[in-house]
């Protein structure tokens, strides 16, 4: 992933300076949070099912090589093609090659964060191929040259007026901010693309190793159209996205729908088992499944491997107070929110290191995660890893070094304490600092900092007070 020019902190300031966007994000995320809570509370055996889902993910990942081999064998037996891609470049190159060989001019795409991760659209467009995003939200993002701000709801940051303006400008239609009208415009516009596209590209929500099937989940129906109408279907799958059996899939589908949108099941749970068969009425003539590593095997071998349990439901984003305030764009990654803060530095490297620090570790994310990933624990591990590898910022290393030296030496420690008390006596106001000096100033704009007590615990211990 390309390094964005702005720092994380600049992007945060930008986001905080846009109150309408901020309100839209917070309201949208909160609505999704409430929907999930309701759907989960109505789920019979919720805790049991969640536990089962977690074990399914754990079992899959602990024998991932075996399940991948089984999956690939089954896909090939059904007449599908498997391509093993080490990284973004290998994946994009392969898809470009198929497109060239089969004379593909128009590609219809279903929403896939993985293809955003590898900039597949750009790579195809550079070869002169038209790529159209067909998920309504992604379509608007594409029209607007924007980026998705949420892994489930790409235009969470936009108001309906924003969308109306984009349509007016880019599609030459009269302005409307009525969602039903806007939807009808998009439907009409997209019809032709589905019918004429030579290739459909999608991600994969789950691959089923026992049958070689892939499952695509959508509410709009675009996932079905792009995997039915075009003669070639290409599905790009992160290598961790398998479940062993169809029965396991049924558990995952229910948890995914309830966690993502509060539905009992998404409208279309689309299970695709190879290309069109003999005597079938329709469906793609060719099916290509690209299994992509792109840094995942490295994560699998690391102490943060639990993040690969993730089924991309977005619930942790909706629960996160930091996400509510700064929105998805500020993270500068296709994966924002708590899951993104763990994943992004692992997948994209050092420029994303500040992300795991932007959390109060309140634990709301862990509470809602359908596979019970210990997100706060992973955020802490990620921070400590950065420090152990000496990759934390200079000011942090310096202050930690000073703290370590001071607290190891009783004389220095007492001296520091005393000077703190002196400073407190001079600058504090009734036991509180109302403004802090230098870079700490920002912290004290909205709150006061407690001053040091007149007597430290040690002093009290040595000389119990007379009164």
């Amino acid at each position: 992933m390309a390094v964005t020019e702005l720092s994380f902190y600049d992007r945060i300031s930008d986001a905080l300076a846009k109150p309408e966007g901020q309100l839209a994000i917070a309201a949208g995320a909160r609505a999704k949070y409430d929907n999930r809570a309701r759907a989960m509370s109505e789920f019979p055996n919720m805790e049991f099912t969640r536990d089962r889902a977690r074990r399914i993910r754990a079992q899959t990942l602990s024998q991932l090589d075996k399940f991948l081999a089984e999956f690939a064998d089954n896909v090939e037996a059904l007449g599908g093609h498997i391509f093993w891609a080490k990284d973004a470049q290998e994946c994009n190159q392969y898809i470009n090659e198929i497109a060239r060989a089969k004379n593909v001019q128009l590609v219809a795409k279903a929403k896939s964060m993985l293809t955003e991760e590898i900039f597949l659209n750009k790579s195809l467009e550079d070869s002169g191929i038209d790529v159209v995003e067909t998920d309504l939200g992604e379509f608007i993002v594409q029209l607007n040259n924007d980026k998705p701000s949420h892994i489930i709801a790409p235009i969470l940051h936009m108001t309906r007026e924003d969308v109306g303006n984009v349509f007016k400008e880019k599609l030459n239609v009269p302005f409307s901010d009525d969602p039903a009208t806007l939807n009808a415009i998009a439907r009409a516009h997209m019809r032709e693309i589905f019918l004429k596209a030579d290739m459909g590209i999608s991600g994969v929500n789950f691959g089923v190793s026992e049958s070689g099937a892939i499952c695509l989940v959508t509410n709009e129906g675009n996932g079905r159209l792009i995997s039915t109408a075009p003669r070639i279907h290409v599905a790009v799958m992160g290598m961790e996205r398998l479940v062993p059996t169809l029965a396991d899939l049924s558990i995952m589908l229910q948890l995914l729908a309830r966690s993502a949108t509060g539905q009992k099941l998404s409208v279309y749970s689309n299970i695709l088992c190879g290309p069109r068969r003999k005597n079938e009425y329709d469906g793609p003539e060719e099916l290509h499944i690209v299994i992509l590593d792109n840094g995942r095997s490295k994560i699998l071998g690391s102490t943060l491997s639990e993040i690969l349990y993730c089924i991309r439901c977005g619930a942790c984003l909706n629960a996160c107070p930091v996400f509510h305030s700064i929105g998805g764009h500020a993270y500068g990654s296709v994966y924002p929110g708590p899951v993104g803060s763990v994943l992004s530095p692992l997948l994209f490297g050092e420029p994303w290191n500040p992300l795991p620090h932007a959390s109060s570790l309140c634990g709301a994310c862990k509470e809602v995660c359908p596979v019970d990933i210990d997100l706060p624990g992973l955020l802490l591990k990620s921070r400590s890893q950065q420090i152990l590898e000496g990759k934390s910022p200079l000011w942090m290393r310096l202050s930690q070094w000073i703290y370590a030296i001071t607290s190891c030496n009783p004389i220095l420690f007492r001296l520091a304490l005393r000077s703190g008390q002196v400073v407190s006596r001079i600058l504090a106001n009734d036991g509180w600092f109302t403004t802090l000096p230098g870079p700490l100033q920002g912290w004290s704009i909205h709150r006061d900092f407690p001053a040091l007590a007149k007597k430290s615990f040690r002093q009290l211990w040595d000389k119990p007070s007379q009164d």
Partner: protein, 228 residues
């Protein structure tokens, strides 16, 4: 990248992994449902309506056919596409609709590239699609369709209105229950689709809108056929 090399990387990563709970396997199962047929049907209807599918009850073929005709009559044109008659629970539906002056469009899509696009564009004129079902799930109000020969995917996908013919003996309590009793369903065809209500989106400011790319209306006609 070569398969062997790829898998080698994965297995060596697993070699030094630290995955919580990787060894324990759960043997507990969700309690099997013992609901009787009428309870199942009622639950199915309740859930299907909750996701904005419209349900119609038909005591037999003839009543079902009348319902189909009524729904077709509400359309501005007389065109429809459907599964093959042998895959539908109403006997000779095609013939019976033909004689009532409805026009069935051929929905077998040619394999040839240009012919294919031409067929798609023609089929896009059709506003109603009629299909059977291979199963239904009571606890989510879903219908399940396989794309076996005679059972095209486009009939439940392309038109704005989807009419699904379901018989009461096809209703299962839950998805897990269905997969356990019909394990071959996942292998029978190139596409097993679980449909829960009409197509929808809430992308624009979380406002629910029906009929984005798939059908905006889903009618399920439930035909009483307990003794089939």
């Amino acid at each position: 990248m070569k398969r062997a090399h790829f898998l080698q990387k994965v297995s060596s990563a697993i070699g030094n992994r630290t995955l919580p709970e990787q060894d324990e396997t759960s043997t507990r199962q969700n309690a099997p449902s013992t609901a009787d047929l009428q309870t199942l049907i009622n639950k199915f209807i309740e859930e299907a309506n909750a996701v904005k599918a419209e349900t119609h009850i038909a005591s037999d073929d003839d009543v079902a056919l009348e319902t189909v005709k009524q729904l077709l009559n509400n359309q501005t044109n007389n065109k429809y596409m459907s599964w093959n008659d042998s895959c539908l629970p109403i006997k000779n539906l095609g013939q019976r609709l033909d004689s009532a002056d409805y026009l069935r469009y051929q929905s077998i899509v040619p394999r040839d590239t240009t012919e294919r696009t031409r067929a798609h564009i023609k089929l896009a004129e059709v506003s109603v699609g009629i299909t059977g079902c291979n199963a239904a799930l009571a606890d989510t109000g879903s219908i399940v369709l396989e794309s076996k020969p005679g059972q095209g995917r486009l009939s439940s996908l392309l038109p704005a209105i989807h009419i699904a013919l379901l018989t009461t003996d096809q209703i299962y309590p839950t998805m897990e229950n269905y997969i356990k009793s019909q394990p071959e369903a996942g292998y029978n065809s190139s596409n097993l689709i679980v449909i829960t209500g009409p197509s929808r989106t809430a992308d624009i400011t979380q406002t629910l809108t029906l009929g984005v790319h798939g059908p905006g209306k889903l009618h399920i006609i439930i035909i009483d056929k307990v003794d089939r």
